[in-house]
């Protein structure tokens, strides 16, 4: 129960952080970080997939409502969750993670490079969907790709930063 409340509180903080702070900070025109993805990365892998999908959709819609981007965040979150589910099913061994006492993929579970590939590729999927919905034009394919690559790396750095802060506490 407390875990659930903690998750909801974390989600709310992430949503407000995204909508009211990161939305209005212009790093460069090529970097638009979205660190709220950390919520889905840190959810236990044995959670019901329908629940995860619901959480993702609700979080996306909430951020959409707060920031005024109707549908963009939620659509990309749904795609991200769907892809993450199939990736977890195929490439992540939940039992071995449980033996290590972990419920999601971390830096130490299968080596840092594994974690890097896993995170960045999933973030890439989300960002590609997000910027495709945002630009919505074949003409700006290069711009979408550039934004996706830059922002994926930046989002990953943000997520690492949040992990660090969390650990120190």
């Amino acid at each position: 129960m407390i875990e659930n409340l903690k998750t909801i509180l974390f989600a709310l903080i992430l949503a407000f952080f995204q909508a009211f702070i990161l939305q209005h900070v212009e790093f460069t025109s090529w970097l638009r970080p979205m660190p709220y993805l950390i919520l889905l990365f840190t959810l236990p892998l044995n959670t019901n997939k329908f629940v995860v999908l619901g959480i993702a959709f609700v979080l996306g819609t909430f951020i959409d409502l707060l920031s005024g981007n109707f549908g963009i965040h939620s659509g990309s979150m749904v795609v991200f969750t769907f892809v993450k589910n199939s990736v977890d099913k195929r490439f992540v061994d939940i039992d071995s993670l449980a033996l290590q006492g972990e419920t999601f993929v971390t830096r130490t579970s299968k080596g840092y490079f594994y974690y890097l590939y896993y995170s960045i590729s999933l973030i890439f999927v989300h960002h590609l969907m997000f910027f495709s919905l945002d630009y919505f034009e074949f003409r700006s394919t290069l711009r979408i790709l550039g934004l996706t690559i830059g922002s994926s790396l930046f989002t990953f750095l943000f997520i690492e930063l949040i992990h660090l802060i969390y650990k120190k506490r």
């Binding site: 549908g71 963009i72 939620s74 659509g75 749904v78 969750t81 769907f82 919905l133 919505f136 034009e137």
Partner: protein, 279 residues
Amino acid sequence: MWVILRWIKSNSYPILALFLFIFSLNQVLRYHIYQHSLYFNSSVSFFRQVDLWRTQITNYLNLREQNTALFKENLALREQLKNSRVFNFIPWDSTIIDTFSETNSVKQFTYHPAQVIKATTTLNDNYIYLNQGEKHGIKKGMGVFNAEGIVGIVVTTSSNYSRVMSVLNSNFEISPMLNRLKLKQGIISWSGQSSKLGKVTEINRTEPIIKGDIFVTSNYSTLFPPNIPIAKVTSIASKNIKPYLDIEVEFAVNFNALDYVLCVEFIKNKELESLKNND
């Protein structure tokens, strides 16, 4: 039914994900002005393109009817043409001539439309068969032509069909006119080799005919109205021993693609013939 339900149950996760994604996409298209306009512009242009394809196809299917209608209209216009009429000029005032009123002009030619049902081009004596006969007013000796040029002369008729001696016939001869030189000499006939090529004989070698000249029907002829194209000059040769030019011409009509033709009748033919016979 159960199969469908079972399928939905086993695939409920992707279906739900797809449903949520479509819901989001719908929101994107509905509430974002930029995406909304992009989407609707492209869908509108797509459906315009589909409409265009459809009209092209249906136009093609309607071509036959359109063709018939145009042909009838052409016929009506041709009846009014100056070539088809002779003018009775008013003797006491020659400066004012109303060339278009019915009272001043008399119809000289009448036209009967017909369709080609069989035609040959490869024999020595080629004939064309029409789907109109005596019942429809086709008579022996009428000239046959289409929009491109002259086609032949009616030689036999039955009640429903008629046989036309094609230009591509060893017995066919016609005397042409060359408007550029006001020349009314020569005889055009088929050279017997290709369905396109004919020859012109009995034109004096001093006549300055050049390549590209077009022979048309003469106004001396009672078979055809004047100024209907017959053939175009493709090569000219003159030999010193012969008094005439050897001219090769290309026929104006494509005899391999005949469809609608007009049979033309000179109304006062009998009167003129009797005058000729009196001599």
